[in-house]
């Protein structure tokens, strides 16, 4: 019995698939299959029932699962306890939204590199729904996206809240305009792709207010969205703090609506069944470091 075997078994069981487990552990299916076969040979009991296409866990497997989890947790604990003063090693895959990527993310990376120089970060910038799917499939260790998520396998912890307001270019509407249903017919709305959390919130707001909003343009890049709005193509909702430089320079103006659009709660999402210390430690860093109330450091303050 080796730790690698138990790890292979654990993730195969948790993810319900040998191939997903293999991907998560960065080995081939073949290798993972053999690790589990060897564990079964060692214990003398089958851990999976290979009757169907998907391997389904046996009773013995269920009994082992809990122990295996504690074993991995313990290994993780050993490393975080000893390993160069609690320094993390290995690699960590995680997902962030574009907004997160362009706000506090550099500070997060800097801090992680300082405190855990041997940890390789592998960020994925995608829309919320895709990141949730990847997390479900075990392809990510955690994700920071607007939440909460509905999945029963995922836990979440709020790390920040952003206030959204309708905005437009000053050529299109004067600052402080009180929006009426008529405005929405007149001014095309620009949103993120339909599977972004942001778009879902816009839709909820629309339904609540009862106006019909024609989707003039859909884009999967928040930066592109802001550019389009500043170019006068249409209206959209942005976090006020995020676009503060543009509001200050007058390239964007905030509009007034009743009710105001919505606030998004950014959450740290992780697999509830993930026993590794890296998830816990990075969650604490995110919690301490979370600061969404800043514009992108890429933007010149005076622009």
């Amino acid at each position: 019995m080796t730790i690698k075997q138990l790890e292979a078994f654990f993730w195969a069981a948790k993810l319900g698939s040998f191939s997903l487990a293999a991907a998560r552990l960065c080995v081939t299916q073949s290798s993972l299959s053999k690790r589990i076969a060897e564990l079964e040979a060692d214990l003398g009991k089958p851990l999976f029932d290979r009757a169907g296409q998907r391997a389904v866990i046996t009773d013995a497997g269920v009994r082992l699962l809990e122990h295996a989890g504690r074993m991995l947790e313990l290994e993780s604990l050993i490393r975080s306890d000893l390993d160069t003063q609690g320094t993390l090693r290995g690699s960590c895959r995680f997902g962030i939204s574009e907004l997160v990527a362009s706000t506090w993310f550099p500070a997060f990376v800097a801090r992680v590199r300082r405190e855990h120089p041997d940890l390789v970060l592998e960020p994925h910038v995608e829309l919320t729904s895709k990141l949730e799917r990847m997390l479900e499939r075990g392809e990510l260790d955690f994700a920071i996206v607007p939440g909460p998520s509905a999945s029963p396998n995922l836990s979440h912890e709020k790390v920040g809240e952003l206030e959204y307001r309708w905005m437009a270019s000053p050529e299109r509407l004067p600052a402080g305009t009180v929006l009426t249903p008529a405005h929405f017919s007149e001014h095309p709305m620009i949103t993120l792709s339909a599977d972004a959390r942001l778009s879902r919130e816009v839709e909820r707001w629309r339904a609540h207010v009862g106006v019909a909003i024609p989707h003039a343009l859909v884009c999967n890049s928040l930066a592109a969205l802001i550019t389009l709005v500043m170019a006068g193509v249409g209206i959209s909702t942005f976090p006020t703090a995020y676009v503060a430089p543009f509001l200050a320079s007058g390239r964007l103006v905030a509009l007034v609506s009743d009710p105001p659009p919505y606030n998004l709660n950014y959450c740290f999402h992780w697999r509830t069944d993930d026993p590794r210390a890296v998830v816990r430690v990075l969650r604490e860093i995110v919690r301490a470091e979370a600061n969404f109330l800043m514009p992108s450091p890429l933007w010149p303050a005076a622009t």
Copy 2:
């Protein structure tokens, strides 16, 4: 990090010596040394300080030790939980006294073989003090000898008590003779080797009574001792239950002394720091199976 590495480290730390740990794990010193070196390389911290002749554990090693113990315990738990319905595997080295070996030991072996067919038993029949030393050095997993032991590293649990009486052959002394100091000058005493627990008890009794007892003959075999006493060579102390057939057939007679010699408490001794399930499980079997109140099954009842 592998379980084997942690196991090597654990026993090296507990036994305070690489060579003893290597012997216990049935590998060469070289191999054990490398396992620990690899673990140190993996964790990035030295676990032992090799300045002196003996490797002495570092602070990091002390921190790891507890975790490693829990890891081995967990591995053991997994095996006992899954492995063919709680069946033990591997091998188990233990020590017993000659008396134990010739009384309930066959029943113990039968039961272990029935309940744990894959467990290889390696009994060592030696005198108490040698078995205690072997247990100290980690060369045994447990020992069943008269106790308790004084070592702080060993735990013990009483599993049986035997009543000893002075005995002789009927040719030498009539049954029921009340022993006086004069008898001890007259009749040579035959005892086990000086490092047997039994001999120590005899010595304590002698000091208490205040008689001088010349050691006529020392032997390291209880069976030989009985033979010698029956042959009329001298007197000795035996458990009454053990030699019941000889008392019944009149080949031995019990003598009376004030105070009576002593009772020996047979105990199951094990290393307090041994986290393996095999020790716990076998202890329970011994507790259930312990029956010293029987003569050796090797002796014809009518002899």
